[in-house]
Structures are given as structure tokens and as C-alpha cells.
């Protein structure tokens, strides 16, 4: 039971990342009709907002300490971050420690801006172009973004730890009489994702702006006939989708050290998630994200792997996502909740 609870938690955690990216992809696709291959890059940019802030708060005053030597035998240059210089060790260290949560505040405007610029500068010209062209241009953009990040930050992963309070794990199982410790930050990540996902849904459901966007997604032309400039709203939605991906990226950094190609690692899986969920369906994208995350976690359990090995299917964890995708798409023509006629041509 403990093991199952843990794998459910793992699945929800993995699913959170898939769901957040897939949600953004679907928002963009549903509003603008654009297949955005640069979405993974936006996720990565979010993570690098946290890395940048980390670098920024670590900018240091250099003093030379002749009593110590560096690896070449020269006097050691001692670095004191300016935040410690200015605010004293207590506040300074706290700022450095709380870098990831602080990065959220920075990431929101930055990602909204990036999304806005991207949509106005590039994507806008591709509304009426074939999907293949959209894929190519956004893929090109993704490469450019990645390479620029690589040129700046290198190719190696950069550790971006969570605040000290959240290091370690918490016995979640104890709440229901089991024994299952789960890392704090992963719990936070799941809670945060759930919050973001429900905020997006609430925003669409309960605000006028959201109503217009929903209407625009359903019938862009008619909304225009009612005097509404839907393009302007969709641009904002693009910004929001970018911000969602970015926040997913920021919060992901303590889980796995970010690197420049982390976006590509997620991109393909996220597309699978979106399609399994059904093109154009937001609830579909989210539920498929969690579903695949949980199935992936279960498939990596030794018992499950052993069972499938008996069925002559060794290493089920290697292929589970794709296998599930095939089964879902063959049994449900448009994924879990897809709409008829959306990208079926």
C-alpha cells in the first residue's frame, strides 16, 4: 500500500509538469490555432528565470585574501554576494535561499512579455499558414532560444535548490495510517500545479475575459461579429500560456537541475499528452497529463515490470506512454475528450 501511495504521488508530480505544459499548448492551439513547438522552450526559459535570479543574487564583491590560496597557488579571491553586503548576512542569505520562490515573482512579468513579443512578432504571421509551417518556424525558434541559453549558461545542469525549509521529506502516509515519506518540494510542486490549473480554469469560467476567450475558442468568427477584437485577447492568452509554462519551469528547478534542453525533453511527451487528451480540449489535456504521469510511475514499479516481463513485454517502463497513447487513440478516435474536426486533416 505504501508503495502504491508513493507511486500515485510520483505520478501526480510527473503529471503536474505534463499537465501544465499540455494546458499551455492546448490554450495556444485552441485560441490561435497554432501548433507551438517552442512551448518546451518557454518551460525552459521559466526555469532559467530562476537560474538567472540565482546568478543575480550571487553577484559578489571580490576581496583578496592572501592567507588562502586558490588551485594555482595565487591568493584566494573571496566572494561576498552584494545582497549580503547590503542587507546583512541574515536577510542576504534568506534572499539567496529563497531564490526559487522569489523567481516566481520575476517569471510572471518576464514570461508574459516574452509570450506577448513572440505572438506579436512571429506567431501572428502564421495563423493562416499550414500547421507544418507553424511547426517548422516554432521549432526553429525553439532551437534559437535553446542555443542562446546554452551560449549563456553552458550545457551542464545548474543546481537551483529549494529553500532550506523545504529540503527533506514529510510522511504523507501517516495521515492515512501508512508509512510513506514524500519530499516537501514535490508536494509543493503538485499543490502549486493544482493551484495554477484551477486558476486557469476559474479564470476562463468565471471572468468576462474568460468567457470571451472561451467563446473565441469555440467560434472565433461569431465573436468578431459581436464587435470583439478577439486577436487582442488571444495575444494575452498566449502570454498567459507562456507564463503557465514558465511557472511550471521555475517550480521544477529544485526537482531536477535545469539545463538548456530540458524543454525538448518535455515537448514531445507534452504533445503526446495533448493528443491523448484530445486536440482542443483543456480538461482533456490536464487529465491526460495526470493519467500518463501515474501510469508511467506504476510502470516503473518492479512488480509491474515483472508482470509484463512474464507477458514477454520486458521494460514496460520504456514504452508505457507510447503504448497507452496508441491504445487510447485506437479506441477513442479523438483522444479522451477531443473535438471533432480539430486537426484531423
Amino acid at each position: 500500500m505504501d508503495a502504491i501511495l508513493l507511486q500515485i504521488l510520483n505520478g501526480l508530480d510527473k503529471g503536474s509538469a505534463y499537465a501544465l505544459i499540455a494546458l499551455g499548448l492546448t490554450l495556444i492551439f485552441g485560441t490561435l490555432g497554432v501548433v507551438n513547438f517552442a512551448h518546451g522552450a518557454l518551460f525552459m526559459l521559466g526555469a532559467f528565470c530562476a537560474v538567472s535570479l540565482q546568478k543575480l543574487v550571487a553577484v559578489s564583491k571580490i576581496t583578496i585574501d592572501p592567507s588562502q590560496v586558490d588551485f594555482l597557488g595565487n591568493p584566494l579571491k573571496v566572494k561576498t554576494p552584494y545582497v549580503i553586503e547590503w542587507f546583512g548576512p541574515k536577510i542576504g542569505n534568506a534572499i539567496i535561499d529563497w531564490n526559487v520562490p522569489l523567481a516566481i515573482i520575476i517569471a510572471i512579468p518576464v514570461m508574459l512579455l516574452i509570450g506577448y513579443v513572440m505572438e506579436r512578432g512571429l506567431i501572428k504571421h502564421f495563423y493562416k499558414r499550414p500547421h507544418a509551417d507553424q511547426i517548422l518556424v516554432t521549432f526553429g525558434l525553439a532551437i534559437v532560444i535553446q542555443e542562446l541559453v546554452k551560449a549563456n549558461f553552458g550545457a551542464n545542469p545548474i543546481p537551483t535548490p529549494a529553500p532550506d525549509q523545504f529540503v527533506g521529506s514529510f510522511n504523507v502516509g501517516a495521515l492515512i495510517g501508512l508509512d510513506a515519506s514524500y519530499p516537501y518540494w514535490r508536494l509543493i510542486y503538485f499543490a502549486f500545479s493544482a493551484l495554477i490549473i484551477s486558476s486557469v480554469f476559474a479564470f476562463l469560467r468565471f471572468t468576462t475575459f474568460g468567457m470571451v476567450v472561451r467563446a473565441g475558442m469555440a467560434d472565433r468568427e461569431t465573436v468578431g461579429l459581436l464587435g470583439i477584437n478577439i486577436d487582442r485577447r488571444f495575444t494575452i492568452m498566449f502570454g498567459i500560456a507562456a507564463a503557465v509554462a514558465g511557472l511550471a519551469g521555475v517550480m521544477y528547478t529544485p526537482i531536477n537541475s535545469p539545463n538548456y534542453h530540458m524543454g525538448m525533453d518535455f515537448l514531445v511527451l507534452s504533445f503526446v499528452v495533448v493528443v491523448v487528451g484530445g486536440m482542443g480540449s483543456l480538461p482533456g489535456a490536464v487529465s491526460a497529463g495526470f493519467l500518463l504521469g501515474i501510469l508511467e510511475s506504476f510502470a516503473s514499479m518492479n512488480e509491474v515490470k515483472g508482470f509484463f516481463e512474464m507477458l514477454y513485454l520486458p521494460s514496460i517502463d520504456q514504452i508505457i506512454i507510447y503504448l497507452v497513447a496508441i491504445i487510447v487513440l485506437l479506441t477513442r478516435p479523438r483522444g479522451l475528450m477531443g473535438k471533432a474536426g480539430v486537426m484531423e486533416e
Binding site: 505504501d2 508503495a3 508513493l6 507511486q7 510520483n10 505520478g11 508530480d13 510527473k14 509538469a17 588562502q68 586558490d70 588551485f71 594555482l72 584566494l76 546554452k150 553552458g154 550545457a155 551542464n156 545542469p157 545548474i158 543546481p159 535548490p161 529540503v167 527533506g168 521529506s169 508509512d179 515519506s181 514524500y182 519530499p183 518540494w185 514535490r186 526537482i255 531536477n256 537541475s257 539545463n259 534542453h261 530540458m262 525533453d265 518535455f266 508511467e296 510511475s297 506504476f298 516503473s300 514499479m301 518492479n302 515490470k305 521494460s315 517502463d317 520504456q318
Partner: protein, 445 residues
């Protein structure tokens, strides 16, 4: 023309007067081997990952190559050329020819690496190829060099197969391997963690992972450890939580992570997040082991590496003369200490150049003869031998652990023990290295 040979063509083209035909891959009338240098210079091919996850490691290798070339051509402070036991290198290039180089991107993919190596051989006339940051690539390029008739000096490749079942006469490996990691680590682990341990292995699900896991398991079991489980993880895994979670209740008290690069960083991070290191199991502290460490990669795991044991080929903090000379010239030129990948590629370049000098030729067969059984010292690893039978270097292996109180961002690992060479040696026909044949050196005919 009944037989479409090169010579035939050369004759015809010569009579036609279109110019002299020069086959590239094969024996030319002038030289007996591929890409024999004709002018005042000789070209080496540095084939390293410049894109993809190992790009930083590749960049460090490239820095070391450039430094080696500088030293060979008489520039800089000479680095390890001054401490190298063989004194045939004088700083006037190789055999009097100025050393030039071309670079390429392996992308850490066999296909791309071979394409890049081929272009160096076919287009740029490289007479030796070196580099690589993964075993798959090393073995693929080694095979190519064997076919093309050039020498391959492997860079960072740790799989037993490189000098085991996939060994080739034209290929040479300075770097250590999975077996050596196991042999070096096991006694240290026994001394620190005791004889009565239950190990749980997480292993990257491909050949390198398998060979390393096999080596570590054999070595630790010989010391009395018990292997509870070995779980294979897909290469593409980024989140190892679902593999780490079951370790908690498996009864194991040691987790061995047979992962490298991004996989290693992510699996180690997950393991630490799940609080494995704070656990007490069977009345013992739970421990994590990362058999193959790379300082560059260990940095990516941040704080999580502290106190974790592993092995490495070389580390910049070593205090022998060779290491000091190398760290000094590398550090002066680039401002930070070299990685083990940089060290091994630098040494390989010097060893190749030295072998050319000693044999008096660039002919792969001559170079190979000079390298086989070559004993040397002063290159940072103590007395070393290139074994003739499998072209594997035998030398001391470093057991390291993540440093608790680093003084700088490079100060990630500390050397806890230098395992003597005798302890990591194995017979040529050891079952983990069996199958495959070295073949004969191929000069490209």
C-alpha cells in the same frame, strides 16, 4: 578494365593528363597508410560533443586538446611534456611537422560522430582521431578508424566493451573502465560501510550501465555485500522519483546509481530529496554510491553529492608533478582547473605524439607498435602501462567523495584513496571483457 582498382585509374588518369590521382582511404603510391602527411604539418581530428547534454564536457576536452597542440608545437610552458617519462617530445611538433587540428561535433550520437570523423579523414586528411564523451560514440568511432586506417585515441569512455568485446587494433583507451571502478571502490566501501550491506542498484538501461552494474555487483559481492535488486531505468528518464521511491522499503541500506551525466544528476537529486541519506536501515546509515563521477557533472547535482563515494580517472587536486604541471598550464590559460575528461584527452594527444616520435612514423601500425606495452610515468596517474593485448591503460584509480566543505565552485570532490594499479588489473580473457578480437593494425590498405 577488368578490375576496377585505384592503381588502374591512376594510370589512366595520368595518361589522360588530368592530374595525379590520390586515393584517400587507401594506400597511395607515396605512403603506405591513410592520410600520410605530405607537407610541413600534420592534422589531428578532435571529435567531441559540442551540442547536446555533454557539450560542456566536450568543450573542456577541446580546451585540453588545444593546450596539447600548443605544447607540442613548442608554445606555452610545455605542461606535462616536462614531467612525462618519455623525453622524445621536444616542442617542435610531431616528427618535425607542425601540429594542426580540425574539430567536429559528435552530438553524442554514433551516426553524427562517425560522419564528423569521416569528414576529418576524407576531407581534412586527419591522421589520428580522438575524443568522445560516451562509450557508444567511442566504440562507433573506434570501429570507423579501424576500417579507415587511422589511429583512434579514445576520450572519455568507461564501458568495459571499448577495450573488451569491441576492442580494435587501431584504438587505444587511456581512461579507466567499469571493472576498474568496481575493483577500486569495493575495498573502500567495505572499509567505510562494513561487510554486511544490502545494495540496491539503479542502472541505466543500456550497455554501459549493464557492464558497470555487473562490475560493481561482482566486486561488492566479493566483499560480502548482498545485492537486493537491480532496476533498469530508461535512458530518457528525467524524473527518477518512481525508481527511487521503492528503495525505501526494499530493505536495502546502500543505493548504487549506475548512471552518468544528466541521468546521474537527476537520480542522485531524487534520491537525496526522498531523504534516503537520513534513513537508518538495519541499524545502519543509508548510503548512496555513484561509481563513476565526473566533476563537471557532479556540479549539476549541487549539495547533493556531499559525502557520496565514487571513482574517477583523475582529479586536479592530485599533488604529483605531472598533475601539478597540467593544472598549472591549463589553469593559467583558461582560469579554472581541468576536468578528468580534459586530462585524459590531453594525455592521449601527448601519448600519440610521443609514439609517433619513438616509432619515427605516423603509420598507424608503427604508432600502434610503439604504444603497445608502453610503460610511462609523469602523466598524473603514476606508473602506467598500455597493455598490448587489449590497448587498455593500467594505472591507479582514484576513489573520491563529494566534498563536505568546498572552498570554490571547482572544489567538488576530494580524493579519499588512490587505489594501486595492481588491485584493478584483470586478465585479458576476463569474462567481462571476453568476445571480440583486436584484429590487426590497419594502415588503410
Amino acid at each position: 578494365m577488368s578490375k576496377f582498382t585505384r592503381r588502374g585509374l591512376i594510370k589512366t588518369s595520368a595518361t589522360v593528363g588530368a592530374g595525379l590521382a590520390m586515393p584517400t582511404f587507401i594506400t597511395s603510391p607515396l605512403a603506405a597508410y591513410t592520410n600520410a602527411p605530405t607537407g610541413g604539418s600534420v592534422t589531428l581530428g578532435f571529435n567531441v560533443p559540442q551540442s547536446g547534454p555533454y557539450a560542456d564536457e566536450g568543450a573542456d576536452e577541446l580546451r585540453a586538446y588545444k593546450l596539447a597542440v600548443e605544447h607540442l608545437n613548442g608554445g606555452g610552458d610545455g605542461g606535462m611534456m616536462n614531467t612525462f617519462s618519455s623525453k622524445s617530445l621536444t616542442g617542435n611538433g610531431i616528427l618535425g611537422k607542425k601540429v594542426e587540428y580540425v574539430t567536429g561535433d559528435t552530438q553524442t550520437k554514433s551516426d553524427a560522430a562517425r560522419a564528423s570523423a569521416k569528414s576529418m579523414i576524407e576531407k581534412d586528411g586527419a591522421v589520428m582521431i580522438t575524443g568522445g564523451s560516451s562509450s557508444g560514440v567511442a566504440i562507433a568511432v573506434q570501429g570507423l578508424c579501424q576500417e579507415a586506417g587511422v589511429i583512434f585515441m579514445a576520450g572519455l569512455t568507461h564501458s568495459n566493451d571499448t577495450t573488451g568485446k569491441d576492442k580494435k587494433a587501431n584504438g587505444f583507451r587511456h581512461f579507466f573502465n567499469g571493472y576498474m571502478s568496481g575493483a577500486a571502490l569495493a575495498p573502500v566501501l567495505e572499509a567505510r560501510y562494513g561487510k554486511d550491506r544490502n545494495a540496491y542498484h539503479l542502472t541505466a538501461d543500456y550497455t554501459w550501465g549493464w557492464t558497470q552494474q555487473e562490475s560493481i555487483q561482482a566486486a561488492t559481492e566479493a566483499k560480502g555485500w548482498n545485492t537486493v535488486n537491480n532496476v533498469l531505468t530508461p535512458l530518457a528518464t528525467t524524473d527518477f522519483s518512481s525508481y527511487v521511491a521503492p528503495v525505501l522499503n526494499s530493505g536495502a541500506d546502500v543505493l548504487v546509481l549506475n548512471h552518468y551525466g544528466g541521468n546521474m544528476i537527476n537520480s542522485l537529486t531524487s534520491a537525496v530529496q526522498f531523504g534516503l541519506r537520513d534513513k537508518m536501515v538495519n541499524g545502519k546509515n543509508f548510503e548512496i554510491v555513484v561509481p563513476l563521477y565526473s566533476r563537471l557533472m557532479a556540479r549539476g547535482a549541487g549539495e547533493n553529492v556531499k559525502g557520496i563515494f565514487g571513482s574517477t580517472n583523475w582529479h586536479w587536486s592530485l599533488s604529483d608533478e605531472g598533475s601539478k604541471a597540467f593544472v598549472k598550464s591549463f589553469g593559467t590559460k583558461y582560469g579554472f582547473p581541468p576536468s578528468q575528461a580534459a586530462h585524459t584527452t590531453y594525455v592521449q594527444t601527448l601519448l600519440y605524439a610521443d609514439a609517433c616520435e619513438r616509432s619515427g612514423t605516423f603509420n598507424p601500425c608503427g604508432v600502434s607498435e610503439a604504444l603497445e606495452g608502453f610503460k610511462f610515468d609523469g602523466m598524473g596517474n603514476g606508473p602506467t602501462e598500455y597493455r598490448a593485448e587489449d590497448h587498455q591503460c593500467f594505472k591507479d584509480v582514484l576513489v573520491v567523495k563529494g566534498k563536505e566543505n568546498p572552498t570554490s565552485e571547482f572544489d567538488v570532490l576530494e580524493v579519499v584513496e588512490i587505489t594501486p594499479r595492481s588491485q584493478v588489473e584483470y586478465a585479458v580473457d576476463h569474462p567481462m571483457f571476453a568476445g571480440g578480437a583486436l584484429g590487426k593494425c590497419n594502415p588503410g590498405a
